[in-house]
């Protein structure tokens, strides 16, 4: 082989590496632009008054997003209370029963659910909760969001538990520990970091959902903590402020967006921290 050949190959190599780096950079660019834009426009709006006061009526200046922050936190809590136990249970079932009719049905449902548009899930929650109770409510919003959380929780629980070595379960069973206690006390704790990560990621996924809340939680310009009454949420408040014709409210929409992005980012970072720190060595 001559030196020229090697030189040409090295040049191709450099070209390839350069192209990969450039494309990777291009794909990250929108993310940074969005973050930059939201921070620039949003951070100046954030102050004590914005965080802790309620929206004011049209014509009055000032106001904030206190009710929306509380509403979003309540919706997260409600949907987690519903989806976490169900999702973990389904995940356990799938990891324990790799084949079988019910397992296959659950797996198929998870895939279908994951692909269902969120607005359709909103309609379902409307039919199930809003129509019978004859009122928009935090509860119905929680139901809609919990349905959206389920697939992520079920999948991550299943994947996490599948990785737990069978010999741990055997060790427990051989000590005379009943099956259900083996699952609760040995298998679940060994997978806790993966399961928690899944829950946080699913929360991050629903925190910004607007469509399923439009005809469930609806929105509420007052502070509300009653789960049977309509409730505000950050995405809904952003929508409301952004659709208004007033420049001040437009800036409020940016401020609320900033809070939402920070919240989602924080959830993702915590999830990463947990999965790194609490990882169990087998």
């Amino acid at each position: 082989m001559t030196g020229g050949h090697v030189g040409r190959r090295l040049a191709k190599d450099t070209l390839f590496k350069g192209a990969v780096c450039l494309l990777a950079f291009l794909s990250l660019l929108p993310l940074f632009l969005i973050l930059y834009y939201i921070t620039m426009k949003g951070i100046s709006v954030i102050n004590w008054d914005f965080l802790f006061s309620l929206p004011r009526p049209i014509g009055e200046s000032g106001g904030g997003v206190a009710n929306a922050v509380v509403g979003t936190l309540m919706l997260i809590a409600l949907s987690s209370v519903i989806s976490v136990p169900c999702g973990i249970a389904a995940g356990i079932y799938l990891s324990e029963n790799k084949t079988g009719k019910l397992s296959n049905t659950i797996r198929l449902s998870v895939i279908v659910l994951q692909g269902t548009p969120s607005i359709v899930i909103g309609i379902i929650a409307y039919l199930w909760v809003v129509a019978p109770l004859k009122t928009f409510s935090a509860l119905s919003g929680g139901v809609a969001l919990s349905i959206m959380m389920l697939p992520v929780i079920i999948k991550t629980t299943e994947e996490t538990l599948k990785l737990i070595p069978y010999h741990l379960k055997e060790a427990s069973l051989a000590l005379g520990v009943p099956y259900y206690r083996t699952i609760l006390k040995v298998v679940l704790p060994s997978g806790i970091s993966g399961i928690l990560t899944g829950i946080l990621l699913s929360v991050a996924r629903i925190t910004g959902e607007t469509a399923p809340l439009l005809f469930t939680a609806f929105g509420n310009q007052f502070m509300n903590v009653n789960i049977f009454k309509p409730i505000d949420s950050l995405p809904y408040r952003i929508f409301y402020y952004a659709m208004s014709p007033y420049p001040e409210w437009h800036s409020f929409a940016w401020g609320a967006s900033f809070i939402l992005v920070v919240l989602t980012l924080a959830l993702n970072l915590i999830a990463r921290g947990i999965s790194a720190k609490w990882k169990i060595q087998f």
């Binding site: 060790a171 000590l175 005379g176 206690r181 060994s190 169990i280």
Partner: protein, 252 residues
């Protein structure tokens, strides 16, 4: 007989239609170490997993015949009660990764929800770790995770975990095959020490280990118990030709 701990009579085990143990008869007396030997796939693991009824957890697995543990029929007992009386140590050390060394030793009590005073637990932990010859190495690190230990130490921790339940019999499935020579000889010494007051059923491929540790040896071939008797006698003058061939390394 009064000092019989385990009695196996005309016992067969199946995986579906595949009969992997054929009318095995075996008696293990108290404080005796019985070695189970035989070529790979002959059914040694299956046999000891029938003693604590772990065999039946595999879909399609079945058994026929009789097994008694200190005069109680194993196959009419509740499996969870039986398993508390029968300790098992696996080929690969398997301490619980979420638990400390201390918690691992008392896992049999903890996981079963048996409540005891702290002082009582302390006593059990110390005694079990001393019996498994691990106490001196870990007494200052009882609250560290068990998975930080070396492979040999982990295996001794698993032995302590089994001993903590005061089992009638300890089942050991090739407990040293995943360990280095030094850890192996440590554990063999431990067995020699333990056999004064523990009954053991030890699966091993290592003829020297069986000779060093066991009092009686059972030789299994293709699911049949070919020969069963005092280890020394079997190793010097085997009765069956297949035993002799195995011991001289004709198949393995």
């Amino acid at each position: 007989m009064e000092d019989t701990v385990l009695k196996v009579e005309k016992f067969s085990a199946f995986f579906g239609d595949n009969r992997v143990l054929k009318d095995v008869d075996l008696t293990v007396r108290r404080n005796v170490v019985a070695a189970l030997m035989g070529p790979s796939g002959c059914g040694k693991t299956t046999l000891i997993r029938c003693v604590n009824r772990m065999h039946e957890l595999i879909p399609g697995a079945g058994v026929a015949g009789k097994m008694t543990l200190v005069d109680e029929d194993i196959y009419t007992m509740q499996p969870i009660i039986l398993r508390r009386k029968v300790g098992m140590v696996f080929q690969k050390p398997n301490p619980f990764p979420t638990m400390s060394i201390y918690e691992n030793v008392i896992a049999g009590y903890k996981l079963n929800g048996i409540r005891m005073a702290k002082s009582e637990l302390d006593t059990i932990v110390e005694r079990s770790l001393k019996r498994s010859a691990l106490w001196d190495e870990v007494k200052d690190a009882l609250h560290r995770k068990g998975t930080f230990l070396s492979g040999g130490q982990q295996q001794r921790l698993c032995i302590a975990r089994a001993l903590a339940m005061n089992p009638e019999i300890l089942l050991l499935d090739e407990p040293t095959s995943a360990l280095d020579p030094k850890s192996t000889s440590q554990i063999e010494e431990l067995f020699v020490e333990l056999k004064r007051n523990v009954t053991m059923l030890l699966v091993t491929h290592n003829i020297a280990q069986a000779a060093r540790v066991s009092d009686v040896t059972a030789f299994i071939y293709l699911g049949e118990l070919v020969e069963f008797g005092p280890t020394e006698k079997m190793f010097t003058v085997p009765k069956d030709k297949r035993t002799e061939e195995y011991l001289t390394g004709k198949f393995g």
